[in-house]
């Protein structure tokens, strides 16, 4: 393998890069590839083609598959319909609260799925609609959860779009609409398709939301995998369903990547004035409508959740919060204790994710072609559903009885967290002008010092951002944890919320809501801190 010339100045010897590659490969090999390979083996080799066809032909499977696909389509379409006008407004207009929208929108995205479910249910019952457990509620939850993707991915891209071609088109005789249709939209398309596919995939692999809001009998691939693996011990059926899901995720991801590659356009214009001040009454009215939309989509569910958590026997109070300290017979531990377990796991998971993520980022950036393979490898956990991953652990880790290890849950959480660290650190690392390193080396800094004095200060912020997201994701992780949790030592808060919500009774519901608010507050707080003082960036993180 030939090394580019700049690597000498940038990375010193190759051994650190090789070590980073090895750590990355081992981590993901053990915790992603092996479990997924077990799913493949179980579904393809062990089950056999005849049984596979038989399983796929079952009514319940076909029904779940059909519902999964159409609700994902509907969720993606609805999220785009609501998110695009918001993205447009924050990309093109300057107004009070514009930055706040970007921060507020990211909160639902990091909220635990069970909390999202609880919030939507609370919102629907607050307005007196008995639709709390309908398809509509599921779609609303998915919009609430994913609208941040559209706002941030498309909005960020839109804000950075060179405006001079639009002016050129207008001068050439294009009306404002024609200029949008022929010049702006085609250039936005890659980001719209990217965001749409992401929303589709997140809705496709949605689990906690469906379990809570779909109890009227709505089943998706995810819930069917869970039901077959945990309650019915039908590992074959679960494996086949997981296979179908993996295929859909893989095909769609490839499609999105290809589309974006093919339609990405280089920008070399300099007219990036971005957002403009509001000038006409019409524009002010427009922006006001957008703010109302944001409040409606994001604010109402959050407020309804907080409101419901404070209701005790007809009045308001903190009773539900005090009750968190009491042990309930339904749970192995008190809700308060489950919260501390979650915090502890999240801390460990964030640490692991930060260390592995940083090493992986260096490997991705420094190791040439191997690096780009590693990037794909490390991003798999973002696309694969947590349920499939958890199920894979169940199948794979029978060997040394790893399933009983108390470390497995934080490790699994770290696996889901590493892509966030990577997504944050890799662009920062790539953004460092190699001449800084060359200058430092020329001034006498050995490679280690260059790393410490040039690279680290420039990626520190990105590393903390990534680790913070990993922490938040771990705090709310539900899908994989349901497969791996055993007993009181590993009973996390999202599990507690789900179990409390799954039984009737105001006391239990009150506890679940209070716990949701506390977890939600922590996650939102972290997201807000990470967002503070950041500029406008393209992309989710």
């Amino acid at each position: 393998m030939t090394q580019p010339a700049s690597v000498g100045a940038a990375g010193g010897t190759r051994y650190p890069t090789v070590a980073a590659v090895l750590v990355t490969v081992t981590f993901f090999g053990l915790l992603v590839v092996w479990p997924l390979a077990s799913v493949f083996q179980r579904s393809l080799a062990d089950v056999g083609p005849d049984r596979l066809v038989d399983i796929l032909g079952r009514g319940s499977v076909r029904k779940a598959l059909f519902f999964t696909v159409w609700q994902s389509f509907a969720s993606a379409a609805l999220t785009l319909a609501i998110g695009l006008p918001i993205a447009h407004a924050i990309a093109r207009y300057q107004f009070w609260g514009r930055k706040l929208i970007r921060v507020v929108a990211v909160v639902p995205f990091v909220l635990p799925t069970v909390v999202v479910g609880a919030a939507i249910e609370a919102a629907f019952s607050r307005v007196g609609l008995s639709l709390g457990r309908s398809v509509l509620a599921i779609l609303a939850a998915h919009v609430f959860f994913n609208v941040a993707i559209v706002i941030r991915v498309v909005g960020g891209f839109w804000a950075g779009l060179d405006q001079s071609p639009v002016a050129a088109a207008r001068v050439l005789g294009a009306s404002p609409f024609a200029a949008f249709r022929w010049v702006t939209l085609p250039r936005l398309m890659p980001s719209i398709v990217g965001a749409g596919v992401l929303v589709f995939l997140f809705s496709f692999t949605s689990f906690g939301v469906i379990l809570i809001l779909g109890r009227g009998g709505r089943a998706t691939l995810e819930t069917e995998i869970y039901r077959n693996a945990i309650f019915r011990q039908e590992f074959d059926v679960a494996a086949v369903l997981a296979l179908v899901q993996l295929l859909v995720v893989a095909v769609l991801s490839l499609f999105a990547a290809r589309f974006q590659r093919r339609h990405a356009t280089a920008q070399r214009g300099r007219d990036r004035r971005g957002a403009l001040p509001l000038r006409t009454a019409g524009q002010r009215l427009h922006v006001f409508g957008i703010i109302l939309l944001v409040v409606g989509v994001i604010g109402i569910p959050v407020l309804a959740l907080v409101d419901a958590s404070l209701q005790v026997g007809g009045g308001y109070g903190f009773g539900n919060y005090r009750n968190l300290l009491d042990k309930v017979s339904l749970l192995p531990v008190s809700p308060a204790r489950s919260m501390f377990t979650s915090l502890w796991f999240a801390l460990i998971a964030a640490l692991i994710a930060a260390v592995v993520g940083l090493l992986a980022a260096f490997a991705v950036v420094r190791a040439g072609r191997v690096g780009s393979w590693l990037e794909t490898l490390a991003l798999i956990p973002l696309g694969v559903s947590a349920v499939t991953l958890g199920f894979g652990y169940l199948l794979a880790f029978t060997v040394f009885d790893l399933r009983r290890s108390p470390w497995l849950i934080p490790l699994a959480h770290a696996v889901v967290g590493v892509p966030f660290v990577l997504a944050s650190v890799v662009p920062a690392l790539r953004g460092i002008d190699d001449r800084f390193r060359q200058a430092a080396a020329a001034l006498g800094a050995p490679p280690g010092r260059v790393l410490l004095l040039i690279d680290w200060p420039l990626i520190r912020r990105a590393a903390f951002t990534g680790a913070g997201f990993a922490f938040a994701v771990s705090l709310g992780e539900f899908g994989a944890t349901t497969f791996l949790s055993r007993g009181e030592e590993s009973f996390t808060a999202p599990l507690a919320i789900f179990r409390l919500l799954s039984q009737p009774g105001d006391l239990l519901r009150g506890q679940a809501l209070a716990l949701s608010v506390l977890i939600g507050l922590m996650v939102a707080g972290i997201a807000a801190i990470l967002e503070r003082g950041r500029g406008e960036e393209v992309g989710l993180l």
Binding site: D162, S164, P165, A167, A168, A169, R170, V171, L172, G173, A174, S175, P176, A178, A179, W182, V183, P186, R187, H263, T265, A266, Q267, R268, G269, R270, D271, P277, R279
Partner: protein, 331 residues
């Protein structure tokens, strides 16, 4: 300066006329009471340092920025309330602003498509224009594969394709290197004359303006400082600002104010009254440009002149200044 200069031909009304045009963004005033005429078939260059309001002027004419005050007329008709796309203009940007998702041919055809011209006619016109700018046969090329000069030619073809009434050029050659810039500037000049194009050309490069324009307008802080034919402007700048901006090196402070000495007014003369020491010598297009500092006097002037043979730094020379060529400048 007078609102109507003789160059624009009183025989026919100007094609474009700006009257008292004022443009402000919030508290900043980009253009203040600008009066300007562009006669049919003429090329008018607007020059000035960055931030003087040149680009705002173009954006105002294009209708991309609403006027705060004043009026703009094209062909004798007010442009107020006429949207950008209905003005029938051509605009060429410094960064080309080619549509990155369209091919070269589709870029050039864009304006024709907006006019709903049939495909066949469009293709023919695109072919003609690419021919005209020296890029025949490049219809299907992707725009990102073009060199800077090629991209600029495509941008020109695109702007000219719909036969605009007025072509506007915003630093059209700013992103090119010097040799290419000079070559394209004279090429544009020839093309505009041939086709009878009326153009409003904005640039910070006075050399480019002198090459291309029939009439030059110097803009400063959103106001017109001076305008006139290139030779007139060069020979009689009225203010220090204009003289400096055009590149006159000998601007001296006098008891009565500032004085401009054209470079031809200073020469070496053994009997000259001024004694000066050479500070700097640059070789320029076959001659030597010499900067010398006056000796003996208290407030020493720097004198710049062209000389046929090399002088050494430190040499002491005697200089003669032709008083007849001196002109007073406003501060």
């Amino acid at each position: 300066m007078s609102e109507l200069s003789d160059w624009s031909g009183r025989l026919s009304a100007p094609l474009l006329s700006l009257r008292n045009v004022t443009l402000s963004y919030g508290d900043t005033v980009a253009l203040s009471a600008v009066n300007l005429d562009v006669g049919a078939g003429k090329v008018v260059a607007v020059i000035g340092p960055s931030g003087c309001g040149k680009s705002s002027l173009l954006r105002a004419v294009a209708g991309l920025e609403p006027l705060t005050n004043g009026r703009i007329e094209l062909d004798g008709q007010s442009l107020e309330g006429v949207a950008t796309h209905e003005r029938g203009l051509g605009l060429m940007f410094q960064d080309h602003a080619l549509f990155p998702h369209l091919s070269v041919g589709d870029n050039v055809a864009f304006g024709l498509r907006m006019q709903h011209q049939p495909t066949e006619q469009r293709q023919q016109r695109v072919g003609e224009l690419l021919d005209l700018v020296g890029l025949a046969g490049l219809q299907s090329r992707a725009v990102h594969s073009l060199s800077g000069g090629e991209a600029q030619r495509v941008a020109l073809a695109r702007a000219l394709a719909p036969s605009p009434r007025l072509l506007m050029l915003d630093e059209p050659l700013g992103s090119l290197d010097r040799v290419l810039r000079e070559q394209l500037a004279s090429e544009l000049r020839r093309l505009f004359t041939e086709l009878g194009v009326t153009a409003l050309h904005v640039t910070h490069d006075q050399a480019e303006a002198f090459t291309m324009a029939d009439h030059i307008v110097v803009l400063r802080n959103g106001q017109i400082e001076q305008q006139g034919a290139p030779a007139e402007l060069w020979h009689s700048p009225t203010s220090v600002f204009v003289a400096q901006f055009l590149g006159h090196p000998n601007i001296w402070k006098d008891t009565s104010g500032h004085v401009l000495a054209p470079i031809t007014a200073v020469r070496v003369d053994p009997n000259g009254p001024i004694e000066a020491q050479v500070e700097q010598v640059e070789f320029r297009e076959g001659r030597f440009r010499v900067t010398a500092r006056e000796l003996v006097v208290v407030e020493a002037r720097r004198l710049v002149f062209d000389h046929n043979s090399a002088l050494a730094v430190g040499d002491v020379v005697r200089l003669f200044v032709d008083k007849a060529q001196l002109a007073a400048l406003a501060d």
